[in-house]
């Protein structure tokens, strides 16, 4: 499929884009300050159809973040009042407040000179980014990055979307009926479409860069009593990213049916083949969060000590990558959910290996954590919205692929379980524990599914727990990217599904979640 269009920068934002650089002298009134500006505008539309209602909602958020890094602290003043004279006044008041801020006598100064275009592009290899820049831009030259698509989701009317969703709901009901799940047993069904147009700008004395991301998703939910089965497709791209195949609905209905007769798993150690979404959660919770530079700078991660000592924390299969520059998600025609061209502090995206065959590499960073740790900046400065603070956050985090097909892995599994449904997770960067929630397990005997399904000891989710190095040493084998084919992979990156991430218990951001299929042994489940 030819993705022949790119999302442009909205022309109504151009006056603001031209005005904001005039605030930099105010924000940089002291020569050793590093001033910068972040602006974002997010328009979201959500439509849903369930058995009783058709709904629509539109939300919108836009705001500017004025930033001064004074060598000690990153100060931010954020506002959604974009009127130029009031923004200028706010910038002046803000700069005066920063100038008056007390600096502790023993505070360590870490000045930051504004990096040039050349310095920013040093780590960038992704053609999709470089092609949109062209030749090295002059300082302050406006450069735009836009996600590629075939059919513009912004052109999809409420009427068209509603018709599509109603048709999808009908397909769910028809397939449920064909599969022996009568209407009275399908107590709830919902099809939801969501589109977010996310536009952002980053400006400092070297760059004036913008990006437009189109985030689309379709979510299907079916319930029978308290049992629930969910399917979601989507990514950054056009309407073409949203195709839902009958086989996917069939799998969702089969799962729901099986859950009605689920057995309870006895707590213990098991051999489990994890699907892409769950291998992604394991990567994310193991040495995703622990490799967040701000967590390291706060003294809250063992990964920083282990990186410096070089101690091994996993076997040769334990290679974890974070990559915000996935603009073709596996073999799909859209970018991965956690992708962008630059982060919310204006740093360009590039692939980063966090753990290489069990050995920890340099962490991901945002601006202040890179300075505090003395490591390179990476493109991981993210925030929940413009009204929230910036942290080091993950983008698309996954295990590197292996050589096996899914059929090979099922054979290697022998007797055990297959897990494909994620149900949350939690990090423990200092204590090196891990929690990964599994919705349910499918039983496998002699490499074949038995049709039996298991839930947790109390009938709910199952929790995988353990010590991260033990879990990473228990990886037996990984699949190739195109796991169902014996032919060599053509895709460069594993599939990263649409997911979200909190930092401990708050600050929710979008994150890709995926990777290869992965076989682990001796996994503690309860």
């Amino acid at each position: 499929m030819d993705l022949d269009q790119r999302a442009g920068f909205s022309s109504d934002l151009q006056p603001l884009r031209s005005f904001l650089p005039t605030l930099l002298p105010v924000l940089g009134k002291k020569g050793d300050w590093y001033p910068s500006i972040w602006f974002e505008r997010k328009s979201n539309r959500s439509m849903s159809v369930n058995l009783k209602q058709t709904q629509v909602s539109d939300s919108f958020s836009s705001g500017v973040v004025l930033r001064i890094y004074d060598g000690y602290t990153l100060h931010e003043q954020a506002s959604d009042d974009l009127e130029p004279s009031r923004l200028r006044q706010l910038a002046e008041e803000f700069a005066a407040r920063v100038q008056g801020a007390k600096i502790h006598a023993q505070a360590i100064s870490r000045p930051y000179p504004c990096p040039s275009w050349r310095e920013r592009l040093k780590q960038v290899t992704e053609k999709e980014i470089l092609d949109q820049i062209g030749s090295l831009p002059a300082a302050n030259q406006e450069v735009h990055f836009g996600v590629r698509f075939q059919k513009d989701p912004r052109g999809l009317t409420v009427e068209e979307a509603t018709v599509e969703l109603k048709a999808l709901l009908k397909r769910i009901l028809a397939i449920a009926s064909e599969e022996g799940l009568p209407a009275q047993e399908l107590s709830y069904a919902l099809a939801r479409y969501s589109l977010a147009e996310e536009e952002s700008l980053f400006i400092d004395s070297s760059v004036n860069i913008s990006q437009t991301l189109l985030r689309v998703a379709v979510t299907l939910v079916t319930m029978s009593g308290a049992n629930r089965s969910i399917h979601r497709v989507g990514g950054l791209g056009g309407v073409e990213s949203l195709a839902v195949h009958d086989s996917e609905i069939l799998e969702m209905i089969s799962d729901l049916k099986a859950l009605k007769n689920a057995q309870r798993l006895a707590p213990g150690k098991y051999r489990v083949l994890f699907g892409p979404e769950l291998s992604g959660v394991i990567a994310h919770e193991a040495f995703g969060h622990a490799q967040e530079g701000d967590t390291c700078a706060r003294g809250r991660s063992r990964a920083w000590e282990l990186h410096q000592s070089g101690e091994k924390v996993g076997n040769q299969n334990a290679t974890i990558v974070n990559n915000p520059a996935i603009f073709k998600n596996a073999d799909r025609n859209h970018a991965a959910w956690g992708s962008y061209y630059f982060d919310e502090e204006g740093w360009f995206s590039s692939e980063q290996v966090l753990l290489k065959e069990g050995v920890l590499q340099s962490p991901m960073t945002n601006l202040t954590s890179a300075l505090r740790l003395g490591v390179p900046r990476t493109s991981n400065g993210k925030r929940e919205t413009w009204a929230n603070g910036v942290y080091t956050r993950q983008t698309n985090t996954y295990f590197s692929p292996g050589p096996y097909t899914l059929a090979d892995l099922m054979k290697k599994l022998g007797d055990g379980f297959v897990a494909t449904q994620a149900a949350g997770g939690m990090e423990d960067p200092k204590g090196m524990g891990i929690q990964v929630g599994l919705g349910w397990l499918r039983e496998v005997k002699d490499g074949a599914l038995t049709g039996r399904v298991f839930r947790g000891a109390a009938g709910g989710d199952i929790q995988l727990t353990g010590y991260v190095p033990d879990v990473l040493n228990s990886i037996v084998a990984k699949s190739k990217i195109e796991a169902e084919s014996e032919a060599p992979d053509t895709a460069r990156f594993p599939l990263n599904d649409s997911g979200g991430c909190g930092k401990y218990h708050k600050e929710f951001v979008n994150a890709g979640c995926g990777g290869p299929w992965m076989l682990l042994e001796n996994v503690t489940l309860g």
Partner: protein, 451 residues
């Protein structure tokens, strides 16, 4: 630049012939945040931020020609820098494509609504001053805390002001303040290092126990060095108010009119909240008037005055949470749908609950408690716990493994403490918080623990 104001939006909505009813909401949020960390033993500020936000949204209800008993509806954010009329027309056109069972907003309340203590006046008056005062408390708490190593702390203070304008002519204004504090301490020894993060939300600045957050995080970080993994077993488990806040607020959905209307799992009047209960019987209210509660509101979003109602009396469901829309759908009278969960205390002290079984696992913190409101099941890794063994007289710190529970099964032999606490929790972006006022601890029976 604002092109229009609330009055213009209301006037425009009144002029739309298809519009039946509307609720216009203006939200103003002011937030201050500071992120602290340890730098050469001193408290350094890594980030210091301030943000201001003003937004206008509306819920618009439209008549659907030729569809008796049905109506359209949209929830839409309006952008004040853009012309008003095209936004209103687009909203109405979109609403006309939706399809809901018809219902109507309630009449304007006949009597004045009570003044509620939903915000901290000191924060509302001077948010920077309040931030500085709390920052001072952090400096003081850090100076007074010893034992473990301080890693970091975060402090958030925000003021949320909301105006609700209804097509019935009713106008309501409310304020809420939110305060968040956290502290992370780590300890190391015998080749082990680990940390403890303590987090707390409150509505009033003085309700955020900063000194306690610091001392508890430090003490528990040191305890982390003594931990053992649990053995796989079914045990009596003591959980605290943070867990009870999550479980009760989630389980309330089964008492809601929305669940009943959509045929999602729900309980009916007269049914037991906990089937076959034999322990302390739960009496639970929803209280929207709780002083400093996380969801203290005089009216719900649909304009229905809110008053405390007992929903469960001695384990029997006696009332439901019925918002105006679903009450009308179900042919019932609207009742309470907002407020903090209030649970009547038990008669036993924490010490008595701990000695109520031969071995009790006291959960100090879950790693990530995930609760399914539909099934009532919940599970988590154990971040820190203490195994109290009455026979050996020992108390052993525990970390790791997981717990799997179910409200329907593990609350049967419930024991509620006589000590009570008030807790709050807020999710950013959500207009309502989750509040809990009730027993500080509860003893659950026969819970599956995986070592």
């Amino acid at each position: 630049m604002a092109n229009w104001d609330l009055e213009a939006l209301k006037a425009s909505l009144r002029q739309q012939t298809e519009v039946k009813d509307w609720v216009v909401v203006q939200d103003s949020v002011r937030r201050c945040e500071r992120y602290f960390l340890s730098e050469s033993g001193n408290l350094a500020t890594d980030q210091d931020r301030d943000s201001r936000q003003l937004s206008v949204s509306a819920r618009i209800f439209v008549k659907l020609a030729g569809k008796l008993g049905r109506q359209g509806e949209i929830q839409k954010r309006f952008i004040q820098s853009r012309p008003l009329e095209p936004q209103v027309r687009a909203a109405v056109e979109s609403a006309l494509l939706t399809d809901h069972q018809a219902w109507s907003l309630p009449a304007k309340p006949a009597s004045p609504l009570p003044e509620l203590q939903s915000f901290d006046p000191a924060i509302a008056e001077d948010i920077h001053g309040a931030m500085n005062k709390l920052t001072g408390k952090i400096h003081q708490a850090l100076a007074q805390t010893s034992g473990a190593q301080f890693n970091s702390s975060e402090l958030f203070v925000s003021l949320h002001e909301r105006e609700l304008h209804y097509s019935t002519g009713f106008v309501h204004r409310a304020k809420q303040t939110r305060v968040y504090g956290e502290a992370a301490f780590s300890a190391q020894g015998r080749g082990i290092s680990d940390e403890y993060l303590e987090t707390r939300w409150s509505v009033m600045g003085d309700d955020l126990p900063i000194a306690e957050i610091f001392t508890e995080a430090s003490k528990r970080a040191q305890m982390m060095l003594e931990v053992k993994k649990p053995a796989t077993a079914n045990l009596a488990v003591l959980v605290d108010s943070e867990v009870l806040l999550t479980l009760f607020n989630g389980h309330l959905s089964q008492l809601s009119g929305a669940n009943r209307y959509h045929d999602l799992p729900h309980l009916k009047l007269g049914e037991p909240l906990i089937p076959s209960a034999y322990g302390d019987l739960i009496t639970l209210s929803l209280d929207p008037s709780l002083e400093g509660g996380a969801d203290t509101v005089a009216v719900s979003g649909d304009g229905t005055p809110q008053m405390k109602r007992v929903l469960v009396k001695e384990n029997c469901v006696v009332d439901l949470m019925l918002d105006q829309q679903h009450a009308q759908y179900l042919g019932e009278k609207a009742s309470v749908c907002r407020g903090s969960v209030v649970v009547e205390p038990g008669t036993r002290s924490k010490a008595e609950l701990l000695s109520a079984a031969p071995r009790v696992l006291e959960i100090l913190q879950f790693s990530g408690l995930f609760a399914d409101e539909h099934s009532g099941t919940f599970s988590s890794e154990i971040r820190l716990a203490i195994l109290h063994d009455r026979e050996t007289g020992t108390s052993t710190p525990i970390k790791g493994g997981s717990l799997s529970g179910s409200i329907n099964e593990n609350f049967r032999g419930l024991g509620l403490s006589k000590e009570v606490v008030k807790r709050s929790h807020f999710e950013s972006g959500s207009p309502a918080g989750s509040g809990y006022h009730g027993p500080a601890w509860a003893l659950l029976s026969d819970v599956s623990i995986t070592g």
